[in-house]
Symmetry: C2
Subunit: 163 residues, 2 copies
DNA sequence: ACGCTTTAGTTGAAAGTTGAACAAATATTG
DNA sequence: CAATATTTGTTCAACTTTCAACTAAAGCGT
């Protein structure tokens, strides 16, 4: 890969502009979404957990599945679940098929909380992001980020193999 | 704003696709960037602090300026600075013009750490993101996110005024 | 069936973050 | 110029996240 040495080491102005614009906006937007959600007493990660459970068969997922789908560590999920269980949104049930395992199950109360928060959150996503994109922007975004995403996955797998 | 009621409440498939693609990729990418930086014993926020100081006049900024530029709270910066000071990358100096204040100053050691990490980090940004964008993608991204960013700022200011 | 390895999930301690309360210095206003 | 309000940065306590160690149950190879 001798050619790699010839690639420019630094970002050129156009690249830097895209990068900075991107990275700053991400953070601001996430903060805004968090703030919009806070009246519902939900954090973004907790909301995400509820969404994943709500979409699952029987509104339940194994802990590991949930952690992977939510892109959080098992340890973190375990701690979070304790808090969310106390809040009454979820409960944990023994798993008969695999007695090491547990089902994370969404309660009715959790469902109601989600249903109540969802329209506001959707509105928030619109206000803070999507409404500022044209249809073409949306298509461009999906295309670009799908590509980046699949690249990241490939890189991840390649890095795993090396180990 | 009666018209607002007529807006669709839910995201349509194209919008949902753009949103999910975006949000998942953001998180994966940040994780990858963090991991790429970790051999330098730097976290992304700490790297950002060093970059901001490195670009500042005299490699120094007031704590509040630094917190605002880095999009972190003063409290968090205060805690971080204690750690970074212990690592020898920065120091805090009394401010003569305003005796309440402090200068966050980058040390030579901090500069060396940054200079050593920067090429790898740049390479990382390329590998994980920019190289997967065409020039046109880059321009689109900058345009889109500049727009979203300015909207967020406007919204932020409007919300402040209400209070 | 026997060890050995892997997988599922939890735990506890350390580190990081948040938000409110605070002290000190400066700015503003009557 | 005194009283009040604001700004600067830190600190404490509560909470969250990470990392490594751990238990228990499967799985696997012989």
């Amino acid at each position: 890969m001798a050619i790699k040495k010839l690639e420019p080491k630094w970002l050129n102005p156009r690249e830097m502009k895209a990068w900075r614009s991107y990275i700053q906006t991400v953070r601001r937007m996430m903060e805004a979404l968090e703030a919009d959600l806070s009246p519902h007493e939900l954090s973004l990660p907790d909301y995400e957990v509820l969404v994943l459970l709500s979409e699952a068969e029987g509104r339940r997922l194994r802990m590991t599945e949930l952690a992977e789908a939510g892109l959080i560590s098992k340890s973190r999920l375990s701690h979070r679940m304790k808090v969310m269980e106390k809040a009454g949104w979820v409960k944990r049930e023994a798993c008969k098929e695999d007695r090491r395992g547990l089902w994370a199950v969404m309660t009715d109360r959790g469902w109601k909380t989600l249903v109540k928060a969802a329209p506001d959150h959707t509105e928030s996503i619109r206000n803070r992001f999507i409404d500022h994109l044209t249809v073409k922007d949306q298509e461009d975004m999906a295309r670009i980020f799908d590509r980046v995403h699949s690249q990241l996955r490939e890189q991840y797998l390649a890095e795993q193999d090396k180990k």
